[in-house]
Symmetry: C2
């Protein structure tokens, strides 16, 4: 990552940086996750999104079991250098529930998302 | 907030929940911040975005000094109920640097954002 200007300045909080993931074309926000340095390095090297799973305390290559990989088009960083925005091509859906986006409901419980696959087919 | 189905289920981590903010029309991601319960309550009541500033350790009504308010159109929640997505009408720009979005650079330092105001006019 030696050609990068901003990467050395990135601020990891307890080893993690928040990553917002959006569809590169429609700009729909697909999910929110965390990365550690290793996940970010693998993401940049392979151009496939990797995260750090806080619940499983392990590295997580998104799509490894489902095939629903996220192919990186661009990675943006915010003004404070403490959050990332990944613009991706999403295979299938981002959400394990079968929705395209994990943000498929309003806070008052209305479903607004698009279901794109049947969970029994991949999990 | 008694008419809400999902709100009681929201997971605050050390009192905070991540909030992604996007333009309600273009879906451009504008910024990333945290909310505590009070910030979320005020946001829902006033329909103007409020956050919790971790650096200042205080409640923060976005736009209070700049006039760059964020008017809430919709608040979405993710599958795990531990992250929020705010769809807003942004007055001026979201970023204190004058850019429309805080995500105005790639991780390799290329500027890709749109400057929408001169910081000397508001700060």
């Amino acid at each position: 990552m030696s050609d990068s200007i901003l990467l050395p300045a990135l601020k990891f909080d307890n080893g993690l940086i928040p990553a917002i993931v959006q569809d590169a074309t429609t700009h729909e926000v697909l999910m929110f996750a965390f990365m550690n340095e290793e996940a970010l390095r693998l993401t940049m090297e392979t151009r496939i999104a990797h995260y750090w799973s806080r619940s499983r305390q392990s590295l997580w290559k998104k799509g490894e079991t489902s095939g629903h990989y996220q192919y990186i088009q661009e990675i943006l960083v915010d003004c404070d250098e403490d959050a990332l925005l990944l613009q991706v091509v999403q295979v299938g859906g981002a959400c394990h529930t079968g929705y395209k986006s994990c943000f498929y409901r309003t806070v008052d419980g209305k479903s607004v998302g698009e279901k794109v696959f049947d969970t029994k087919d991949v999990y």
